[in-house]
Symmetry: C2
DNA sequence: TACATACCTGACTAAAATGGTCAAGTATAG
DNA sequence: CTATACTTGACCATTTTAGTCAGGTATGTA
């Protein structure tokens, strides 16, 4: 079970963005430099974040990205969903009634993995960007 | 974030084993047939489980595997550790003081991922094989 | 208007991880 | 002696990941 870089970077970049997003949009180049993330990769990530309306963009000189919601309205769930960082613990298809082994009933451990998935998701639903900003400030004292 | 088949199979196989392990050892062939897992793959998995002393083996005809501890002493943590299904949320090396970006300090989201890792692991530490057997019985009523 | 900045898009790819298979054993009950 | 079942290690196809690269397009500023 590991977190992918895409998901990690998405959150990292958004925290960075939120910290510097006062009036002016923040350019990806700045985020790239501050966080040490490839610019090209960031562009891929932000196009996804934009499609899910987590950020807004303005083009041209002095352009960049801005959050399109308040930090407390952006949960980790939303971010991960936008960049396709999905939690997947079961093997079988969710909607189907068949088990992962192809049999007619769900397998012997299916419920366990379902429980695990909920357990993990609950973490993502609790945490908002605002929480991250706060705890980040505390660490700097 | 997804669970690998190796981890999923390991747990599945052990639950199966625990259910049929009364007096006689259970052969991998039986588990393979009942759970629809490739026999060759199961062998790989069980060699790891054996190395961590979660199961014991007897060779020859009528041979097979037996749990080497009581079901309530075997936590998911132990199983996952045995088969290298490790939870990894941070990018940086745990022991090093450097951040994932190569900088001298831990990155802006490091603590978050650490928290996530603990959150997930706490689930694995709570669940024992016995719990799984119980909830499996309940489902059969 | 020219130009630099910065978003935008899609194709491409090297490397790693995953989920196995295959082959050739060895030990033991019956 | 022979069938069963554990043991070991090499091998491999596919998928995923983590990017790079090459071209755009929009826009503020000089
Ligand atoms: S994981 Fe859903 S049936 Fe096995
Ligand atoms: S994840 Fe540990 S420093 Fe970034």
């Amino acid at each position: 079970m590991k977190l992918t870089s895409r998901g990690r970077y998405a959150v990292m970049a958004l925290v960075d963005l939120a910290r510097f997003d006062n009036v002016n949009p923040v350019s990806l180049r700045d985020i790239s430099l501050r966080q040490g993330i490839s610019l090209d990769y960031l562009e891929q990530i932000f196009s996804k974040l934009k499609k899910d309306q987590i950020v807004k963009s303005t083009r041209g000189t002095q352009g960049g990205y801005v959050l399109s919601k308040k930090p407390n309205e952006i949960k980790l769930t939303n971010i991960f969903q936008a960049v396709d960082e999905k939690v997947k613990t079961v093997q079988c298809k969710k909607d189907s009634k068949k088990g992962c082994n192809g049999k007619a009933t769900k397998c012997i451990t299916h419920n366990l993995w379902d429980e695990l998935e909920s357990h993990i998701n609950s973490f993502f639903e609790k945490k908002s960007l605002e929480d991250l900003l706060k705890s980040n400030k505390e660490n700097r004292l």
